[in-house]
Symmetry: C3
Subunit: 268 residues, 3 copies
């Protein structure tokens, strides 16, 4: 059983952070909130998402008891496993869900899960949607998060980051993110032109001095930058020829999003 | 002879209500104002339009006298008929006319008909357009309005109606409009999802309680919803598996628009 | 050596006035500022552009001395000629440059030329672009401005001119600009419709009375009208079946733009 109420703007912000990486995926509902971990179809980018139950105005959750009469026959291995974890998995088309939420004005959203029918009942004011869920077993398995250690951390205003990405798209296909001493930089080279953003420590919210840089596909960074349009600051975790982990908070700190992106091999 | 002045916004609102159903059509000009009745090319939707002469800031109208010297030879049967009715028919490309009016800022529009040359002279400030009219005999005949009796009438805020239509377009191809007791509802079912708007009597401006519902093509309802963008309230006249008549006022009550839409057979 | 600072809005306005006619071209940098003269690929329209050095917040310019050690070998005829004129030619892709400037917010732009590498270094706040210049010898030769005498001059509000052009585009492919006594007019005839703007002397900023008119391609006039979006007034220099010269100022009077457009032969 899952029943919840949440601010529409907060829910949109959350789903938007997912659609930056994946079109569909499975939420894990537990007593403590909502979780998701998914990789993009090309296996280059990963999103880890977590929303605490206190981000909701109402949050009711209960896993149906194993062996209850109504469900005995239907119990599959997957369900058994899910129960043992005290969680419910629901598969969703996030792109469609975001489109539906986009109609809803500024209301609160009520969500109610019909596990038997695999439907999510979504109410916004006088509008009620019944959304068919996707079969979780038809969706890709949840990826493992690799163990990573990042020597350098940069906290930057989201708007500055996004503007630079938009500028970089006019120049090239890849982008270097790096730290050189006390300067954070983003650099793109096209066939003809070169773009460089350089920010000193005092132009950033935080910077670990160091000497690292890695090259990334601009397509993915650009997609990520669309998942954080309502976020004030983002944290970039960097290394030398190393993955990028980009963290930010949603739902006024009651939700966390992490994007992980594999580096490209630099041709020098 | 026809010569008139009218507020540009009012005229745009009127023409926009027509282009929701037809691209072209014929106005009947009479002593008392402007009228039009036309069906869409697929014969599924009809628009009836009426604009009183007092919606105009200036309205001069006169049918040329039969048998006057200048016209004797040119008198055709059609003209004779038109005269006998004390009216002038003019054929127009409404889509083009709306585009032209869209350039005009916030001025007043002056209209002047040149019957001989079949041109409509349109002046907005310093800009003057001379528009060639369409030959009325080349346009479809004016349809007859079927006699209908509607057991149920609902008056609803236009914005609520339009928002629901936009939401429904994301879900399915058809929409049910119905009244169940004291609730008015709109319902769309797609392959995967279902959308329902339910409004109680106190969320509506008016409602006749009853039990009726009919299914309509969403394409046509959606087109209609684009013809009423400046209107505050609309009246829905409903029956059981029956046509929909959607009425609203334009020109501050000095004009009336009615859309009539045939129902679809529901597969159950 | 060329190094300059200029307001970003002013520079955008200047480049925009060029892209109305050409995608690329060569600036001539001199002690007194920036100049350009170019024709469109179809040889129908020409732009003459001039920006005084005092439009810049900083303007440093020096032609490298002939026979200096580093350059002796590289000296080509073109360079020799350029030196003799005390000017530097730089070839630019204006469309790309405008796109890059569009990212820059409201900052000041710093420009620095690297003649040896044929790069223009462009800094806006923390963003630095290195733009590869085009080889001036690969670009079309600078056209000669024909000697013209215009009997009639009209000064008109840019917005009125642009609105009429937008309206004319809905009607036809050509436009007549003319003066008839004390009235300036613009007139377009399509297959079906006719549009005419007529402005009396008191609706204009200035008018030389006369009797002239010429026909022009609307495509070119329309392109020109996109190059003056921040300009308040424009001057139209007209004759009978004669080219149009359209003048306006940029950079608060410290820059001048002239468009010259060949007339079309009128079929009557």
């Amino acid at each position: 059983m899952f029943k919840a109420k949440i601010d529409l703007t907060v829910l949109k912000e959350c789903i938007e952070s997912l659609t930056a990486i994946v079109d569909e995926g499975k939420f894990r509902l537990t007593e403590s909130g909502l979780k998701l971990r998914a990789v993009d179809p090309a296996n280059v980018a990963m999103v880890s998402f977590e929303l605490q139950r206190d981000a909701f105005d109402l949050f009711q959750f209960a896993v149906k008891e194993s062996g209850s009469e109504a469900d005995t026959d239907a119990d599959t291995e997957a369900e058994a496993e899910s129960e043992s974890k005290d969680e419910i998995e629901i598969g969703m088309d996030f792109v469609k869900f975001l489109g539906i939420l986009g109609i809803g004005g500024r209301d609160e959203v009520e969500l109610e899960l019909d596990e038997q029918a695999q439907k999510l009942f979504t109410r916004m004011g006088s509008l009620a949607y019944t959304i068919s869920l996707l079969d979780p077993s038809s969706l890709r398995k949840e990826p493992k998060v690799p163990e990573l250690e990042f020597p350098v951390q940069v906290i930057i205003e989201t708007e500055m980051f996004r503007r630079t990405i938009r500028a970089a798209e006019k120049v090239g296909d890849h982008i270097v993110l790096g730290v050189d001493g006390e300067v954070f930089y983003m650099e793109t080279e096209g066939e003809m032109d070169k773009l460089r953003l350089g920010l000193k420590k005092d132009q950033l919210i935080q910077l670990t001095p160091g000497t690292v840089h890695s090259l990334y596909s601009l397509d993915f960074i650009s997609a990520m930058s669309k998942g954080m349009s309502h976020v004030e600051n983002i944290t970039l975790n960097l290394g030398k020829d190393y993955p990028l982990r980009l963290d930010f908070e949603v739902a006024e700190g009651k939700g966390k999003v992490s994007y992980l992106l594999a580096p490209r091999i630099e041709n020098e």
